[in-house]
Amino acid sequence: MRRGLRIARVLLSTQYALMLEYRAEIALWSLSGVVPLLMLGLWSQSEAGQALGLGATGLSRYFLAAFVVRQFTVVWVIHAFEEDALQGRLSPLLLQPLQPLWRYVAAHLAEQLTRLPFLAAIVAVVMLVHPQAAWWPSPGALLLTALFTWLGFAVNFLLQTSITMLCFWSERASALDRLLFFPYLALSGLLAPLEAFPPGVRSLALATPFAYQVAIPARLLAGEPVAIGPALAVLGAWLALLLPLCLILWRAGVRRYGAMGA
């Protein structure tokens, strides 16, 4: 336990130092996630907020919250892992007594930490431009948002990692990740709150991992009601499915590993 905590501390601080070296790139990544802010600009001119029962203010807050939570659920492990596998950088990691995937987890967390100042600056600007979107969430809402955002990230990480394991079979597994992009775009709540969906599509979205990467934590942050129990049950089910799947694929994959480029 003590060793695990020390590894976590050193791994996170090292990855944070590394991410700070790429701060300009990370600032641009933060900016590239502005789709919810564009939606905020588009939807704020319409009566949609009233029609959806959120009101104009509620809708603005939802999109701003979606922008914020999305910054913490983005996963790029497939691209980093694929490059490491192709360049031979995975080999030394496989020869250390630490599951290599922990390094990618730490890299994601460190990158999220690096995004924070840029995120705060963007949020401040949006609040100045759209004063109706400005609010301060309650401590309870913040805690629940943090919990669901982290769970959403964990599910997304495991989902992408499962596809990432195909790197052991294919040199270009990252292309498969694009298959997830359209369901994510359609069902995550990035383009519209789930209230805008027909009931059947909304139920489908809530059964997928995608709604938990944007819509559900965004609703919590915006102070909108969320059915916590069912949401936790769905997240738990996805975690229970994806974690063993990842481990099985990992074991099968490393048997096939040819140490390409290494």
Partner: protein, 327 residues
């Protein structure tokens, strides 16, 4: 009990066959054809604790594939391997704590951070406490003549400094078995000598078992009393370096840059002409006659530059196989 025990080790890769051109591309897309290529075939040897063994062979001979199997990075297709009492491909933590694999062209250090960050991370991963880690870093850095370089980003280090820092990172957990794949590749002569000296010191101080591949005969002669010679995946020789040297490299290559072009007839008396291109000449001269012959040719020929070196291992092995000296 042997530290490394290998019996009938084989590794076969499946390689795609694609004919060139559009027809070949379409045929490959519709019906992929593959061939099984034996990278390592039925290799057996044992290495005792504390031994330093050189692993010789040309490009694609199977040296690196064997090292990858011994370190557990890839699974053998057939055969049995045991390293420090463990089956490598299981990659269990007690095994990983006892070994290291250093690849001259690959790095484990984080490129944009100083080596010290990677070292402290390795210390945490291997469960070495901070004080002990600092002591080991100091000890190994002194042996490698590393100082402030540990605090500069890896990308700012020279190739030699980087290799030394890589070695430090690979040895911080004080492994009992070192697999070294071309650790001096691309280094200048001084850096090569420093790395060799360090490896010899490490072996003596910690009794580590070392299996070393190198394209440079100088690495092998300086470090390894015993050598394994592999060619096309098969082990052709396992024995003392001295016995192999007599067969493998009875000659040294002397490369001359002349100030004028000379005919072959005026060069033949100094040794076997390997190549003659304009003013550049490559001669093979027997080791026991080298000093005398070089003295003679310097006195007799208009020499602008002279270099004495071992012929490339690939060429030598090819020649010896052709002559039936080995195999």
């Amino acid at each position: 009990m042997a530290m490394i025990s290998v019996e009938g080790l084989s590794k076969t890769y499946r390689v795609a066959n694609k004919q060139p051109g559009l027809v070949g591309t379409l045929r490959h897309a519709l019906r992929r054809q593959t061939t099984d290529v034996a990278a390592v075939a039925d290799v057996s040897f044992r290495i005792e604790p504390g031994e330093m063994v050189g692993f010789l062979g040309g490009n694609g001979a199977g040296k690196t594939t064997t090292l990858k199997m011994l370190s557990g990075l890839i699974h053998p297709s057939a055969g049995r391997v045991e390293v420090a009492g463990h089956t490598p491909q299981r990659r269990q933590a007690p095994f990983l704590r006892q070994i290291t694999l250093v690849m001259g062209q690959k790095q484990q250090l984080l490129w944009d951070l100083p080596p010290r960050d990677s070292l402290l991370l390795n210390a945490a991963v291997y469960g070495i406490d901070d004080r002990e880690a600092e002591r080991r870093i100091g000890e190994l850095a002194a042996m490698l003549e590393l100082g402030d370089e540990l605090n500069r980003p890896v990308r700012k280090l020279s190739l030699g400094e980087r290799m030394k820092a890589e070695l430090l990172a690979a040895l911080l957990h004080r492994p009992a078995v070192l697999f070294l794949d071309e650790p001096t590749l691309g280094l200048d002569v001084n850096a090569q000598a420093r790395v060799r000296q360090f490896l010899a010191e490490y072996n003596q101080r910690f009794g580590a078992t070392v299996l070393l591949t190198s394209h440079y005969m100088a690495d092998i002669t300086a470090l390894c009393p015993r050598v394994l010679l592999i060619h096309q995946g098969r082990l052709f020789y396992d024995g003392s370096l001295a016995a192999l040297s007599a067969r493998l490299a009875p000659c040294r290559e002397v490369r001359l840059e002349l100030t004028t072009i000379l005919p072959a007839s005026s060069l033949e008396r100094f040794g076997t002409i390997e190549a003659l291109e304009g003013r550049t000449v490559r001669l093979l001269i027997r080791r026991d006659q080298l000093t005398a012959r070089v003295g003679e040719l310097l006195a007799a020929l208009p020499v602008a530059d002279l270099e004495v070196r071992d012929p490339p291992i690939d060429e030598l092995i090819g020649t010896l196989l052709q002559q039936g000296v080995i195999g």
